[in-house]
Symmetry: C2
Subunit: 340 residues, 2 copies
């Protein structure tokens, strides 16, 4: 029986082996992904992003438990840009294990940096594909919501939850403003802390739902007293949910909003649009990696090193160096970009 | 007089215009950068990175003031991945302006996300190049040290300062571990807070300079009682400096360590190696952007959209779709990658 057949039959060891292949971009990876792809499209992918200290991981665990209590299977991908250096990702897994260990309806994977920029996004998209084919009903993708790559990864989900917490200081508040536009749902976690209501009010203000104080510029949206969720005009106004993830409070309400958002996407045809965006992003990352790999494979020994030395010595600027490398005529190697 | 001549003569308006061109990747950008490149290589580039809430911006300002008090000019680049959505970057500038406003020896620029992954890194490298040509003695590049892109940007500097602060919680501690390997210097900022000595000890522990508690795995480095800075064997042991940036305390010591590290790089020949790394990174980003632009320019109308739709409908997997697009024979268009 092939690895893919075993995975489709629910074999967890086959799943883990395929994920390892795919993460490492191994020789079989692309063939495996191509074979799995027709079996995907059933999972609902939920991105969870927020600044450090907001309690994202605890919230993801609590959400996973809620889904499990309703009989749905859950895949969890924790994207940790720091883990190549340290045991960060493993630590996260260990904390999770305490809660969800031994449940065959849950699969947890931590993703570390893939070396190059964009590599992490490519690898995360591939692992989502594998978990989707393996039949997980919901896939939770957790990222630190302060990096460009990490925000992109989370926003490639069907439903994006932005997690806030009171009292994280001004700099974190600025980040909050930055992820406003990618949020389908807001969770103000650690809501038993002082300042939770102020955090909710700040979000409502940005949505144009609360009057802004003098001197504050709102987003220009005139939502008035609209209720959150699906609007009469077909738009979606992101609900704001207060949660205390460590005690499980508010998590059921957050879960219900995720499901409402999933229904909204299906009913309005927005789901197809999000699928197209996800496909475009995945294709884009693959094309970029292939192009640079083809270019490097076609350069002769030392050609790149000479260009780099010349730039470092200021004999050649990087743009002219790039022109040279891209124009190079290499007989016998067809995989290079040539200019007229 | 050309824009470049004006910039080299110290014209600040020419500088601002060139930076805008370069940031937007405008039509003149590459020619301008090529013309400026021979005039670069004199600035010392200092990356400052840390989690939200560590007080990086205040520390960068304090460092800039120290350099100014010694008669050196300073360029500041604040990389803010969230600012496309919000006024985050502008806010940061305004806070800075209070301290450094009207000083012609200081130039401050906030960088927002450049759309694509890697675009921010490319644009930041280009602006560093422009400030270098404009003759700034020191260039401070500030990034949020929790994203893959942002960490890469900071670590492309000559000297990388990782900023910590006590009491930011466990998740932030994990990030600390993640940036350990890119740090040339550590600043434990907000050192008047409880836990500052514990933060210093934790860093020393990771360096192998303090005994680890039972069950903790160190980095394996057996530094014993080595003093920080340049070692007898030519290595560099990152010093740990306590700072209270809002009051300027410890900033002179941090400044001195930056200058010691700069001298270390020059004297050991490591500077040439770092220049080569910076050149390689810059070249890599430019090549990636050029390749994908050439590919997209060569696709016929709708070709990409059809591929994306086919992926979204699960008729085609993204890897096979990428193969098709890269193999496409387009008569008359030479800029496409062809396979044998």
């Amino acid at each position: 029986m092939s690895l893919v057949t075993e995975l489709l039959a629910g074999n967890r060891r086959a799943l883990a082996r395929i994920i390892s292949q795919v993460e490492d971009d191994g020789p079989e990876a692309h063939a495996l992904l191509a074979e799995l792809h027709p079996h995907t499209g059933r999972s609902h992918v939920i991105g969870v992003t927020g600044a450090p200290g907001t309690g994202k991981s605890t919230l993801v665990n609590a959400l996973a438990k809620t889904y499990r209590s309703q009989g749905q299977t859950v895949g969890i991908i924790a994207v940790d840009p720091t883990s190549p250096f340290s045991g960060g990702a493993l630590l996260g897994d260990r904390v999770r294990m305490r809660d969800l260990a031994g449940d065959p309806g849950v699969f947890i994977r931590s993703m570390a940096t893939r070396g190059s920029l964009g590599g992490l996004a490519r690898a995360t998209a591939d692992v989502i594909l594998v978990l989707d084919a393996a039949g997980f009903d919901r896939i939770l993708v957790e990222t630190v919501g302060v990096g460009q790559a990490e925000v992109e990864i989370a926003s490639a989900a069907h439903t994006t939850i932005v997690v806030e917490a009171p009292g994280l200081g001004d700099e974190v508040q600025a980040i909050k403003a930055g992820v406003l536009e990618i949020a389908d749902l807001f969770a103000v976690n650690k809501a038993d802390r002082e300042g939770a209501d102020r955090a909710v009010l700040a979000l409502q203000m940005m949505q144009g739902l609360a009057p802004a104080p003098a001197g504050h510029h709102g987003t220009g949206r005139q939502a008035g007293h609209a209720a959150p969720g699906a609007q009469a005009d077909g738009a979606w106004l992101p609900p704001i949910t207060k949660t205390i993830a460590v005690r499980g409070e508010g998590v059921a309400a957050l879960h219900d909003w995720v499901e409402q958002h999933a229904a909204y996407l299906r009913e309005t045809g927005q789901l197809a649009r999000r699928e197209a965006t996800r496909a475009a992003t995945a294709l884009n990352h693959i094309l970029r990696e292939r192009l640079i790999a083809a270019l490097f494979a076609g350069l002769t020994n030392g050609e790149l090193d000479r260009a780099i030395s010349a730039i470092a010595r200021r004999e050649l600027d990087p743009y002219t160096a790039a022109d040279h490398l891209l124009q190079a005529e290499k007989p016998g190697f067809p995989g290079i970009v040539r200019r007229p």
